[in-house]
């Protein structure tokens, strides 16, 4: 990708915000386009600047990172949100994903990991642990979502549906490419199409959305299990 990844940073601690900026500023393929000091600012700046990625602390005054995420997903669905959190237990993470986060990192994560996570999200890779994906699927199955959303299903091509199912396994783009005998470029293109059609900005969101719309079923997961074996 020739254009730089445009990043907005939201954290209520000025020093930490500064430290975050420094992490990204040394990367040649990224640029910081703004800094927000609370949830409200984060929402306002996102709707105005439309960044590719919003790196946001979850604990913030005004509204917290979760509430901000929900609002941002309504006004700027193409901005992927990377949440920085103090907790990473499963229920917490599921909550983050429900709110529309593309991924999460521990606040204590190293700068290098942070940069990698931003890149992964941007290129449509999975940033979730397979264990979390499994949990997400299980939870979705407990809550019946009703009949599948026909409109959404019709919108996606057979190939895209196939990829959506593989996506639920946590396979990387490369693995998917190998499995389907496609080039990595093609897979990325498909991913990008899927995201556009579903009006999301990341893999995690595509997964959450497809579970919400009933595009993936328990059978799909079983299928995946057999693939995994």
């Amino acid at each position: 990708m020739s254009t730089k990844i445009r990043i907005l940073i939201a954290d209520d601690h000025p020093l930490l915000r500064e430290a975050l900026c420094q992490v990204f500023s040394s990367e040649k393929d990224m640029e910081i386009i703004g800094q927000a000091g609370n949830g409200e600012e984060a929402v306002a700046m996102t709707s105005q600047l439309k960044p590719d990625i919003l790196v946001m602390d979850i604990m913030m005054p005004k509204f917290d990172g979760l509430e901000a995420s929900r609002q941002i997903k309504k006004i700027a669905p193409n901005t992927a949100i990377l949440i920085l959190t103090a907790y990473d237990d499963d229920n917490y993470v599921l909550g983050l994903l429900e709110a529309g986060a593309a991924g999460y990192l521990m606040k204590s994560a190293r700068g290098h990991d942070l940069v990698e996570a931003v890149r992964a999200i941007r290129s449509g890779e999975s940033v979730l642990h397979p264990k979390i994906i499994e949990k997400l699927l299980k939870q979705a199955m407990i809550k019946p979502s009703g009949p599948p959303d026909r409109k959404m299903k019709d919108l996606l091509s057979d190939r895209e549906m196939e990829m959506l199912k593989l996506l639920a396994t946590g396979m990387s783009n490369k693995e998917i490419a190998d499995k389907l005998y496609l080039s990595l470029r093609t897979v990325k293109a498909h991913m990008s199409n899927i995201f556009t059609k579903m009006n999301v900005a990341s893999r995690s969101e595509a997964l959450v959305e497809s579970l919400r719309k009933g595009l993936l079923t328990l059978d799909d997961i079983k299928e995946h299990d057999s693939i995994a074996k």
């Binding site: 601690h13 979760l66 103090a86 229920n91 917490y92 909550g95 606040k107 190293r110």
Partner: protein, 487 residues
């Protein structure tokens, strides 16, 4: 009559009978020495026999009077057996004698009947007198009970006028019983109390019984308010309602103590939440962020590509960084235990899931959370329910030895119902009554109080060996003024 007297009378009876009979048969006995001389009536002629017959009458009356109706009849028969042969066979004028004898017997029989009649009448009178005595005694003891009962008792008619009141009424109302009689009960009641009184009245008049005592506030003579526990009953006469009987006990002090205790628990809970929140925030906002910053700076120092730091020192720095990160993590964990941010951020269900997973991991038991689709809930409700669950799970951890725990959240007509069931060893719920404070069971009181503060209720069901179920219910939409904010 004593037995000895009875024998004496029987002896006398027999003796007199023999003597009379001897006079009657004087002509047959005339040949005998001495007795013949003594028993002759010849000088008196027929008059002598009449006297004897008359004496028989007296004898019959005597027997039935002194000994009894049976001996009277026996004497009557014996007299007939004695008189009739003499009258028929020995008398000079049999017709006159037979008539005389029969007349004597008839009079004797009449005597028996009269005596018997009198006896029955007397017995009746005695019985009546006994009843009236018993009646008076029981009435007295009832009056005594009523007057000196420790509970205030009064009766008022349908119009509310007090008809009768006992001494204890003075303790409760400050009015003497005499002052109360004729007064209207409405004068003793505040407006709120009147509303309750009307409800009770309507219910009772409809024929519904009120089995339970209810709390009522009355205004005393000195203007102060007393809380009484009241039991009211409809009094009927011939099926028609005529008034209300009230039994009241002054529970002002009890209620005051209870309210005090509640207030104290309430304040403690609030202070606790406040304090926890403050500490958690401080830990998180201040210390944690500083440590985080330290870690970030170290990270940057290490990852600078043009670093002049020697390799050995980088390893050292990485070690320091990991120490900082661990400190950060444990700080966050600590802050979360104080105030679960997951609850504030993701709601009750996520927080309960988190809580149960922790417990499940710790005790290696199965903990399941089932829930209806929950609407957005007020944060007070969520916090209260979360803390109740936390306490219940704490008890399970400490006491239950359960292998399965189920939490269910249900929405039932504007109420949130949370039940926490375990299959542990359970306990006897009778232990939950009495002085919980003394027994150190503040946890249960705390749960109850939390439920009460959000306008809800708490119920604990358990029996030894049967597991325990804690059910908390609370309205989802609480009226604003009733909300006591923890936040």
């Amino acid at each position: 009559m004593s037995n000895r007297w009875r024998i004496f009378h029987i002896c006398a009876l027999v003796l007199i009978f023999i003597i009379l009979s001897a006079f009657l048969y004087d002509k047959l006995l005339a040949g005998l020495p001495i007795i013949g001389q003594l028993t002759t009536l010849s000088s008196l002629g027929t008059l002598g026999y009449r006297i004897v017959r008359f004496a028989y009458i007296l004898l019959i009356v005597y027997a039935s009077w002194m000994i009894g109706v049976k001996s009277g009849i026996a004497t009557l028969i014996a007299s007939a057996l004695a008189m009739l042969p003499q009258a028929i066979f020995l008398s000079s004028d049999p017709v006159d004698s037979v008539i005389g004898s029969l007349a004597a017997l008839a009079i004797g029989g009449l005597g028996i009947a009269l005596i018997q009649l009198r006896r029955g009448w007397r017995r009746q009178r005695q019985k009546l007198r006994g009843i009236s005595v018993a009646l008076r005694t029981s009435q007295e003891s009832y009056e005594e009970l009523f007057t000196n009962a420790s509970d205030a008792i009064w009766v008022h008619d349908l119009a509310g006028k007090i008809v009768i009141a006992n001494n204890a009424c003075e303790k409760v109302s400050g009015y003497l019983p005499e002052e109360l009689i004729g007064k209207s009960v409405a004068q003793l009641m505040s407006r709120e109390a009147l509303v309750i009184a009307r409800e009770v009245r309507t219910k009772l008049m409809k024929g519904q019984a009120i089995d339970q005592r209810y709390d009522q506030r009355i205004i005393k003579k000195d203007g102060t308010e007393a809380v009484v526990e009241l039991f009211t009953r409809l009094i009927r006469s011939d099926g028609k309602p005529i008034g209300f009987q009230n039994i009241a006990r002054d529970v002002t002090e009890e209620r005051r103590l209870r309210d005090n205790l509640r207030l104290q628990i309430h304040n403690t809970l609030m202070a606790q939440e406040e304090e926890r929140k403050r500490i958690a925030r401080e830990l998180h906002d201040d210390i944690a962020q500083s440590i985080l910053l330290l870690s970030r700076e170290l990270d940057m120092l290490i990852s600078q590509s043009d670093s002049k730091i020697p390799e050995d020192s980088i390893l050292e720095l990485e070690h320091i960084e990991s120490i900082a990160n661990n400190a950060y993590k444990s700080l966050q964990r600590y802050a979360r235990d104080l105030r679960p941010s997951i609850l504030d951020q993701m709601g009750l269900l996520a927080a309960l899931n988190w809580l149960t997973e922790e417990l499940g991991k710790e005790l290696k038991i199965q903990v399941l959370v089932k829930s209806d689709n929950l609407p957005a809930l007020p944060s007070e409700l969520e916090l209260a329910m979360f803390r109740i669950a936390q306490e219940a799970l704490n008890n399970i951890r400490k006491h239950a030895h359960a292998s399965n725990v189920n939490i269910s959240l249900k929405i039932m007509s504007n109420n949130l119902r949370m039940s926490i069931t375990d299959d542990g060893k359970g306990f006897s719920t009778s232990k939950l009554t009495g002085d919980l404070v003394k027994q150190g069971k503040l946890g249960v009181l705390g749960m109850e109080e939390r439920a009460r503060l959000i306008g809800g209720s708490l119920q604990i069901k358990s029996a030894p060996g049967k597991g325990t179920t804690v059910i908390a219910r609370a309205p989802i939409w609480t009226r604003q003024k009733e909300l006591v904010s923890f936040i």
